[in-house]
């Protein structure tokens, strides 16, 4: 009897020991969880910190004040004032002459080349625009802020050393001295980098902008949305509301779920084979990019759409049918409007996913170097993630910060889209 009871009821000491072990196990379990979360947060923080510390400076750009003499002889236009002549004038020479005049002590070919390197090789565009807007400036001398060369910009931002002779310094001692001179004269400054948000890509980092990629992404996503949304909603409605439940619809359902898990690069190959090789659509065009992204987003939207339709309570369907509504009336008048917030949320998330896709677009040639801002979805264009990829691949130090800036812009758009999805979901949460 005594033996028996010891089997059933353990002694207080044994019980305490077991309890202690249980608590210890629980503590370990929690600790593991907290460690995992801390680790994840740590990685995220490092990522964000790296991107911001690298990229924030890309939003400002150094420029140099130069006293520019618009001498018609140097411009090489003589007495011609026609827009054509102004467009073809030799602004580069004007900048050179002006710089020589500003630093009269500089002599010799290599020294002069170093001096000219202070301003960007694309600075002449500024002057061309000035004259096009106001030809009366010809013959006068103006103080103009010209975009600085990328190495000067990097030095001003502290990304490369300003100590003469430091390791890996791409600036000569003379150039560093001139920067010092300009600083003392107040002729060098950092201002908001409008170039980044108004121009397309460029080989020169200080002239490279994201706008071409933003427009390209916009066109691509518009195509994706136009194709995906009606197709996805129609498929979801048919499968959820009208299709008979049989072997075939089961197979279709399984396949849609599988499609959502297919690596996106495969869709890129599919797009290459179908849209480019078979239909002969233009390469690098947002039209094709959008279609490929539509293939990728379609399963997501269908799955989200079906989930949203399924969430509409049967009582609403019964109410409509009980009144004598046809099945189609039931869907269009009641079920679809109620499911729409969910469908839209799914669509936005699908679009956000598409916005970040890179690999499939490389397959269809959206990786070309494109300077022009696309005017239509048929024009060659880059998209934001591909721009990140292209810049990340460029050797210039100034592209490092621009890469991070491009990532920040991409993350900003992704964040806005996710925010829109969250707000939509909050606003329309279950109203029946």
């Amino acid at each position: 009897m005594a033996e028996n009871s010891s089997l059933v009821r353990s002694t207080p000491a044994a019980m305490a020991a077991r309890l202690k072990r249980r608590y210890a196990a629980e503590t370990r379990f929690r600790l593991a969880g907290i460690t995992a979360i801390a680790l994840a947060l740590g990685f995220l923080a490092t990522l964000i910190f790296t991107i911001f510390s690298n990229g924030l400076t890309a939003f400002v750009q150094t420029s140099v004040k130069v006293e520019v003499a618009f001498d018609p002889e140097v411009l090489g236009i003589g007495n011609d004032r026609s827009p054509d002549a102004l467009a073809g004038a030799n602004y580069g020479q004007v900048i050179k002459e002006s710089l020589y005049k500003q630093f009269p002590t500089v002599e010799g070919r290599s020294e002069r080349r170093e001096l000219v390197g202070l301003v960007s090789s694309g600075a002449d565009i500024t002057l061309r625009k000035m004259l096009a807007a106001n030809p009366a400036l010809i013959g006068t001398t103006q103080s103009v802020w010209l975009i600085a060369g990328d190495d000067i910009d990097m030095a001003m931002k502290g990304h490369i050393s300003r100590t003469p002779g430091a390791d890996g310094n791409r600036l000569t001692d003379r150039q560093l001295g001139w920067i010092g001179d300009l600083e003392r004269q107040g002729a060098i400054r950092k201002g908001f980098n409008t170039t980044l948000f108004t121009t397309g890509d460029s080989r020169e980092p200080e002239l490279a902008g994201l706008w071409g990629a933003v427009v390209g992404s916009f066109f691509s996503l518009s195509i994706t949305l136009i194709v995906c949304f009606p197709l996805g909603v129609a498929t979801a409605v048919y499968l959820e509301e009208f299709a008979p439940k049989n072997k075939w619809t089961d197979i279709i359902e399984v396949n849609i779920n599988n499609l959502a898990a297919v690596p996106s690069v495969v869709f890129g190959l599919l797009g290459l084979a179908i849209f480019l090789n078979f239909f002969g659509m233009p390469r690098s065009a947002p039209l094709v990019g959008g279609l490929v992204l539509a293939l990728i987003s379609l399963p997501t939207i269908i799955i989200a759409g079906r989930a949203a339709l399924k969430a509409v309570p049967p009582s609403i369907r019964e109410a409509a049918l009980g009144l004598g509504a046809s099945k189609q009336q039931m869907v269009t008048d009641h079920v679809l409007p109620l499911a729409m917030p969910g469908i839209l949320t799914g669509t936005i998330l699908g679009m956000a996913h598409a916005l970040g896709e890179t690999a499939p677009l490389l397959m269809i040639g959206m990786v070309a170097f494109i300077v022009d801002i696309p005017a239509s979805p048929m024009d060659p264009a880059a998209v934001l993630p591909v721009q990140v990829y292209l810049w990340a691949d460029s050797p210039e130090r100034a592209f490092v910060e621009r890469t991070s800036a491009a990532i920040m812009v991409l993350l900003f758009f992704l964040g806005m889209m996710n925010l829109a999805a969250i707000l939509l979901r909050k606003k329309f949460e279950r109203r029946w």
């Binding site: 439940k245 019964e318 109410a319 409509a320 009980g322 009144l323 008048d333």
Partner: protein, 265 residues
């Protein structure tokens, strides 16, 4: 069956608004309703009572063919409305459901305005030629459902914002807006408090004048209060049907007796 009862049954059938003979319902393998012969008279309230799962809802849903929506649900036998076979291939369910309205157990107004809830049926059936006529239909339906006084100042507010009892009366208004001949009610008061229940019961009694009503109820008091005829179902079979008074005071079948005296249920 004697010649006399056969003749009586024939007369019944002619009187009946809804008449069913040998109706069987199968959910896949499950034989849920067995050989039901039941006549429902016009302008009367017929109560269907019986323990849970005995097939009351199933029978009700046969009348407006809501069972069509359930996959692998099969109905056999003959069921007619005003002598026309409800399950005839030529019958359009949309039209049938305009003639046979339904009110469900849980109030299920559309998440739309009170006005739109009531106006939906007349709209899809093209019953109003213009806005004024539609207004008229909506107002009179709300009036007949005894809801107008409570909601006339907030017709644009969502129907889902009403109390449970008001929602159920809104659903009744929505059903009668289509001017059906028969209204089916599946435990319409089971989600309501006693006061709301009393209002709905009162309403059912008034509606009897213009509609034929079939009501499934779990409450025997309710059956006694609102119905003229009562049908008792048990395990998928119609055990007994008769005048409510007779069923409650002088049940013929021992099962009926057992149920109404509360020995099972």
């Amino acid at each position: 069956m004697t010649a006399q009862t056969a003749a009586a049954s024939l007369a019944d059938r002619r009187l009946a608004k809804v008449s069913s003979r040998d109706v069987n319902v199968f959910y896949g393998e499950k034989h849920a309703l067995k050989h039901v012969d039941l006549d429902i008279r016009a302008n009367e309230v017929t109560a269907l009572i019986g323990p849970s799962g005995c097939g009351k809802s199933t029978y009700l849903r046969c009348i407006n063919r809501m069972n069509d929506l359930i996959e692998n649900c099969q109905v056999t036998g003959s069921l007619s409305l005003d002598g026309d076979d409800v399950y005839d291939k030529k019958v359009d369910v949309v039209q049938l459901r305009a003639r046979v309205g339904m009110v469900f157990q849980k109030p299920n107004p559309f998440p739309k305005s009170i006005y739109d809830n009531v106006a939906y049926g007349p709209r899809i059936h093209g019953m109003a030629r213009d806005q004024a006529e539609l207004d008229e239909v909506v107002m009179s339906s709300l009036e007949r459902a005894g809801l107008l006084a409570e909601v006339k100042d907030r017709l644009e507010e969502p129907g889902t914002g009403l109390s449970g009892g008001q929602q159920q009366r809104l659903c009744i208004a929505r059903a009668i807006a289509v001017s059906p001949e028969v209204i089916l009610m599946d435990e319409p008061c089971s989600a309501l408090d006693p006061i709301a229940t009393a209002k709905v019961e009162e309403l059912i009694d008034e509606l009897r004048e213009n509609f034929t009503i079939v009501i499934v109820t779990h409450s025997m008091q309710q059956a006694a209060r609102v119905s003229q005829r009562t049908a008792f179902f048990h395990l998928g079979e119609l055990v007994e049907v008769g005048d409510t008074e007779q069923i409650f005071t002088n049940p013929q079948h021992p099962l009926t007796q057992g149920y109404i005296t509360g020995r099972f249920g």
